[in-house]
């Protein structure tokens, strides 16, 4: 008897492992999440939401007279054995409920706990014996009275958000697993629309109308050019690096600022936390280095000037020629400026728990290059060129894990600044069908 395989592994044309057991494991995992969300949500609703809702809707109003005052002490012992106590004001009130007089201790309005007993006593002194306060008693248990109503919105948010996320994620995953149960991969793929909606992690690209698996190009034809028809959007890898440096510097220095303010308040209060002060020094060094790297990246990205590319038509077709206008801003001398038409394959795969991408340029066609370009501030270098998509070229393709991308790449080597690479994606459609062939004779 063979044990079931819970995993799948791609081996050439076939995939090993049991699809049924895989679906069962997926369903069990999401079912557990759904159950956890329902239980957690039920506990929060019954323990927090329902009592609060009852206070605001079911409890009956009654005037309460203060007949006693006191402090409630709550002691918490930490791991080292020392005890920390908090003090909270309490009022003993007399009130009428169902024609009977009751007395009970209750928390006064806006009474917060204090670690300092004298502070809590000071707060307690603001209420006078014999004073009358509005109160509300529980009609099902008149011994319970509250002196304050309202909602704790943070608690409601917590009660809804966390269990809600578990229920949504677990429920959609369970529904997806049920829909997949016993169905072939072709059947699942044929119903991809609903499955994609149920899978929040699915990243299926948008496709061009009437061209399945060819990426949509609406976003690439919504910017008119100054001379040619369209201005191509830029996809600069340097911009993402710069954004990464900027985010890192911002987040790191925000944490540093919080720690520094805490240390400063301690120093002003006469306390010195040497461990915190010692930690602040390397943190500050990293923070300053992060700002420095960001500023350096910003200077490098802007110093060599902007690159713009315009094209006479879009999307492109195999065998067709297109005019391209290159406009390079900046100042100083460029040793080289080069434009190439490239075709790149990109594959995304899982390696262990990581998701990795690999790119390979499989076709590179030089378009034009320039040497010793002299740029004058306030003007831009402009050059016209022509690109031709080969007649037997593959069209652009994009699926969830694989893509085939056409692009114009501009590489520059300024004399005073580091070299740069700027990528302008293109969409190439398949050549128009020349007319479908009639069905031929049968073969095998």
């Amino acid at each position: 008897m063979r044990l079931p395989r819970f995993f799948g592994k791609k081996r050439g044309h076939r995939r090993t492992g049991s699809q049924a057991w895989g679906s069962f494991g997926d369903g069990a995992f999401h079912g557990a999440l759904l159950l956890a969300g329902l239980v957690f949500g039920g506990l929060l609703v019954s323990g927090v939401a329902v009592p609060e809702w009852r206070i605001n809707h079911d409890f009956v109003a009654t005037p309460c007279t203060i007949v006693g005052k006191g402090l409630a002490r709550t002691a918490v012992q930490d791991r080292s054995g020392s005890t920390a106590a908090t003090w909270q004001p309490r009022l003993r009130v007399r009130y009428e409920a169902d024609g009977l007089s009751h007395e009970a201790w209750s928390r006064p309005p806006s009474a917060t706990a204090a670690t300092d007993r004298d502070l809590a006593l000071g707060r307690l002194a603001t209420w006078q014996l014999g004073e009358t306060l509005p109160g509300w008693y529980d009609p099902s248990n008149p011994a319970v009275v509250v002196l304050e109503r309202g909602y704790n919105w943070w608690m409601w948010l917590l009660a809804l958000l966390l269990p809600g996320a578990l229920v949504a994620f677990g429920g959609s995953g369970l529904l997806r697993a049920v829909r997949r149960w016993g169905r072939s991969e072709e059947s699942q793929a044929a119903a991809a629309g609903l499955n994609d909606m149920l899978d929040p992690l699915s990243r299926v690209p948008r496709h061009a109308p009437d061209h399945p698996a060819v990426p949509a190009c609406e976003d690439m034809v919504n910017s008119p050019g100054t001379i040619l028809r369209y201005r191509l959007p830029i996809e600069s890898p340097e911009s993402w690096t710069l954004l990464g440096f900027g985010l890192f510097a911002l987040l790191w220095n925000a944490v540093l600022a919080v720690l520094a303010v805490g240390a400063g308040l301690d120093l002003m209060g006469g306390r010195r936390d040497w461990l915190l002060l010692a930690l602040l020094i390397p943190f500050a060094v990293v923070g300053i280095a992060g700002i420095g790297l960001f500023i350096r990246g910003l200077v490098l990205a802007t110093a060599s000037g902007t690159t713009q590319l315009e094209i006479s038509d879009h999307p492109l077709r195999p065998g067709q020629r297109y005019d391209v206008l290159l406009a390079q801003g900046g100042a100083g001398t460029f040793r080289d400026l080069e434009m190439t038409l490239e075709l790149e394959e990109q594959a995304t795969f899982r390696q262990g728990t990581d998701t990795r991408s690999e790119k390979v340029v499989v076709a590179r066609q030089p378009v034009q290059s320039w040497r010793g370009v002299q740029l004058v501030p306030g003007t831009r270098f402009e050059a016209h060129a022509t690109i031709t998509i080969p007649p037997d070229a593959m069209h652009s393709f994009a699926s969830e894990h694989n893509s085939i991308r056409w692009m114009i790449v501009v590489r520059g080597r300024p004399a005073r600044w580091p070299a740069f690479t700027r990528v302008f994606p293109l969409i190439v459609f398949p050549a128009p069908a020349t007319g479908a062939r009639a069905g031929g004779e049968a073969g095998s």
């Binding site: 059947s187 009437d210 340029v361 393709f397 894990h401 694989n402 069908a433």
Partner: protein
């Protein structure tokens, strides 16, 4: 190419005939496929699925796109009453078959037989859409 999803029992054979003997089609061509199932050894079937699909091969995770799908459950069209069938569709304008370096795109016809013993058997037959030549890696750029 036929392969069982689960081994150990009868291994059927599915022979397929394309209406283009060279199995080469152009985008938006009509495609007609006839198939015959043999070697069931009396095992009872509950459904047969026909599909025309593309899938990716290579370094990345496999992606699958189904262009035509049909599930046959009518006993009159299933073995042992009927040991074969035919289905037809018009191909879409994309994607085209592609033999890249790390991404390959193949079109195929699949006949999947579901047995009453909760197992299935799939037979896959590749064909070409379009005439894109295989890709080779260009020489690395000089610095």
């Amino acid at each position: 190419m036929s392969q069982p999803s689960d081994t150990g029992r009868a291994s059927p054979r599915v022979t397929v005939q394309f209406d283009h003997p060279d199995r080469r089609y152009e985008p938006q061509d009509a495609i007609t496929v006839r198939y015959r199932i043999e070697g069931l050894d009396g095992e009872r079937t509950q459904a047969v699925e026909h599909s025309i699909a593309w899938y990716t091969e290579g370094k990345g995770e496999e992606d699958l796109g189904v262009h035509f799908f049909e599930r046959v459950t009518d006993p009159a069209r299933l073995p042992p009453t009927s040991n074969g069938g035919e289905f037809a569709a018009r191909l879409p304008s994309s994607p085209l078959s592609y033999e890249g370096v790390i991404v390959k795109l193949r079109w195929c016809v699949r006949v999947r037989i579901f047995f009453q013993a909760s197992r299935d058997f799939v037979s896959e037959h590749v064909f070409d859409v379009g005439r894109i030549p295989p890709t080779r890696v260009p020489p690395a750029r000089s610095p």
